[in-house]
Symmetry: C2
Subunit: 502 residues, 2 copies
């Protein structure tokens, strides 16, 4: 559809420029291609190498870094093409990308069909959209701007344009938490319990989008998470479960691309969130999916009404995809556990699995609740037998053994470490903790470096209702660089109170 | 508001990278700043030099182009900071840009206040928005997503964040055409007539956004258009009028930034279009503004209903800004004149001003109609005296003398040239021209290189209703490079008919 009209050859020079996910091509202003084709900066061009092709945005060098017969590509573009220094690439004009007409239509609030979404998402996955075009698409689909049939169309398109995992077992369980609660890292505990109960739960997780840590970020501090499909199947075959990064297998690749721009915009929208979650689940081969929606004034979902609307959408879209979807609405008033940040959350997970006496109670009970819901969803347990079994598995150490076995199968277990720089934050008054601002706590952890600095973040010691005396430790900020610690502490000074103590 | 928290110094190396309007900063992966601050590609950072500051997007080099203590900036970023090779720049973390919260609110269809728009547009003008963020803002404001008070708020913000021209004269006339009609280059003729009539019309125009030529592109083939404010005032003082590029003076600078992204998205939306037009007029010091809206099935405005809605918005927003605004709805069924493309349109303009016998009649009568409307709007003429005076000025050669005098005052007149490559397109049948697709003609001219290649474009010989015989010349495509000519001809082959001949 986007076939080149004619080609021009240039020698590739490896400039080693990381532009994150965007395809950028660099040409010198006096290159034969710029001259004969009249190309200028920001033009979109078609680049081919060895049977692969991408669309890239042109940046023009006015210096001696590139010769007239050379071209540079951003690292992402080189990876996508599988090209290296010295290779000859072909550059040509691009015919207009037809699906962008659909994006413009959506900007003008037209209803898009399943076919429209398929065309858009196919072009996105093929690397034909610039970040500007992706941002326009995301913005046009934000708010309540997608109807139910549109969300279904988008979700299906995202599933169909990536790899799908096929399992030999009939029932494949999966779970997802809508997020917004710092430290809410139940997944590794839930997967360990459910897999130990003999059910199959091949869990693929994402890395953080706008939060200080995703499940994969936390797991990555303890084991390898970027397994390929074959390796994942071997782990699940052996242990009934896994806890891997979904990005390493090509499930719903559109989601990863859209998320890179959503992250830059710091925005999540309802329709896209549902499509993102369910496309990953469907592509991962799930048959039964549990969605956990924490609700609280500073969680991602702020009201019960919003949670109920999401519940409806998740079930309706799940139905359309043939997924048995259950939604559980939970309390999202405050952080779960103590750690906020990859390694700090991993430490909490281990203390629950190890049944340590000071393990965070809230993380433990939340994990049990979700494990029970999954056991029930399987149809093999009811509320009472499920609850007994989940508790027995956790308390007996079976869950810990399963967790360690899965980590071993994924490449080996390592103990997560603490960051070298930290600073305590103490209370300036006596009182009782009346409210906790989850968003500000998450932002503080991010400013300290999480999730890119895996041991950075916040350890939180002041849950709702706790009696606090002046001088008591409220929370501790961890960072891997002095600059980041200072940056986080500076943020703390300029922001209004994260905790209300009265 | 976006003050840095702490700084890091790096030596600037001039990489000479043209990224169009986006501020990009290049650091090496082992630079002290990347290391100590935990910065990764696509992070937004704060860059300072000599009291100026910008926000830039980080690209990371993994090569030997930059040393660990060096930084590169895109050409636009260097220009904005006024920095050159060897200068020491400061790089620091950015506090969150507060106005982006307003953009997200708009993505979720919240109504924004005048203050909100002022905050957003101030940050846009200060260079704090990435192209991704600009695309999200533009997309969120597209369609019918802006209310009348919002359009007024956006327009005022765009006026207030740039330079304003103050004139000593009481009445300052101005005009604008909503566009979409290829070749509709009436402005230079209208300005010449109105200025010759003794009225003041300091016309600033834009370059093409999504069209093959803007008035400034056409004028630039005949004279200098990038005059500074002082030079513009001198021209207008002497000749009552000018025809300059608005981008060279700092009128509504937000508009130029937004347009660079709108261009990449190939989108114009109603509210932004009104804000764009009227902010430029208000900043240019106009008191009386004539808006020309051509209507036709393939013009920018397709229906009379849409034109009437625009008329209402233009008048209502004009009122709020204290501008006396008149709207004239004209026929937009086909191209005006023969040329489509900067130099080809300039040739048409000159033939009308020179009263040449084969001057395009439609361009001549359209220009007269608009000149009469402006004479009337001034209150110094009625429909009859205005019409007599406009015709007398054109036919007597006064308009040509005024045009030449203005060009001389702007820096001298030169005759526009024809492109070296061209190809005729002839009819494959007998018949009558039943319809003309303006959009496809405009795209054809763009594919041939217009407006960047100034003498490229299309010369059109087949107006509606013309009797055509097989083999007759329909239009001719001009290009400055063989590659571009081939590209345009290739487009022609794959597109359905531009003309209907029956």
């Amino acid at each position: 559809m986007n076939e080149p009209l004619k080609t021009n050859e240039l020698k590739l020079k490896d400039l080693g420029i990381d532009t994150y996910r965007e395809n950028i091509i660099f040409l010198n202003f006096d290159s034969q291609v710029c001259q004969s084709e009249g190309l200028v900066a920001l033009t979109r061009v078609f680049v081919e190498f060895g049977g692969m092709s991408i669309t890239a945005t042109l940046n023009v060098f006015h210096s001696k870094i590139l010769r007239h017969d050379e071209a540079g590509l951003s690292m992402e573009a080189m990876k996508r093409l599988g090209a290296k220094e010295g290779d000859t690439i072909n550059i040509s004009h691009l015919k207009p990308i037809a699906s962008l007409g659909k994006v413009r239509a959506k900007m003008f609030r037209k209803e898009l069909s399943e076919t429209d979404f398929h065309e858009i998402i196919s072009d996105v996955v093929a690397g034909h959209y610039s970040n500007i075009e992706l941002a326009a698409f995301i913005s046009a689909c934000s708010g309540d701007n997608l109807s139910l049939p549109e969300i279904i169309g988008l979700t299906k398109a995202m599933v169909e344009t990536g790899q799908k995992i096929h399992w030999l077992r009939k029932m494949i369980l999966d779970k997802h938490c809508v997020g917004g609660l710092p430290g809410n890292r139940t997944t590794p505990i839930v997967v360990s319990i459910v897999a130990a109960a003999g059910l199959v739960i091949p869990k693929t997780s994402s890395k953080a989008i706008t939060s200080p840590a995703g499940t994969s970020d936390a797991m990555e501090t303890m084991t390898t998470v970027d397994l390929d499909l074959e390796a994942i199947k071997a782990v699940v075959e052996k242990e009934n479960g896994c806890m891997v990064w979904g990005g390493a297998v090509n499930l719903s690749p559109a989601d990863d691309i859209l998320i890179s721009v959503e992250k830059a915009l710091d925005v999540d929208s309802e329709g896209q969130m549902i499509a993102s979650v369910l496309s990953k689940k469907a592509a991962a081969g799930a048959t039964h999916v549990l969605i956990d929606i924490p609700v609280g004034p500073t969680a991602k979902v702020r009201s019960r009404e919003e949670a109920l609307r999401l519940q409806y959408y998740f079930k309706a879209v799940g139905d359309a995809l043939g997924l048995h979807t259950e939604v559980i609405i939970t309390d999202g008033l405050q952080p779960v556990g103590r750690g906020i940040g990859p390694a700090l959350e991993a430490i909490d997970i281990l203390s629950v699995l190890r049944n340590e006496p000071d393990a965070p109670d809230d993380l433990r009970s939340r994990s049990l609740k979700l494990a029970v819901a999954l056991l029930e969803l399987s149809g093999k347990y009811d509320a009472i037998t499920g609850s007994q079994e989940a508790r027995r598995i956790l308390e007996s150490g079976e869950a810990l053994r399963k967790f360690m076995a899965i980590c071993k199968a994924q490449g080996g277990f390592r103990e997560p470490g603490l960051a070298p720089y930290h600073e305590d934050v103490v209370s300036d008054r006596d009182g009782v903790v009346k409210s906790v601002d989850n968003r500000k706590l998450a932002r503080l952890a991010k400013m300290a470096g999480a999730p890119l600095a895996p041991s950075a973040g916040v350890r939180f010691y002041s849950p709702l209702g706790k009696n606090i005396r002046k001088g008591d430790l409220l929370f501790c900020v961890y960072a891997e660089a002095q600059g980041e610690l200072e940056y986080a502490m500076e943020y703390l000074k300029t922001t209004s109170s994260i905790l209300q103590i009265e």
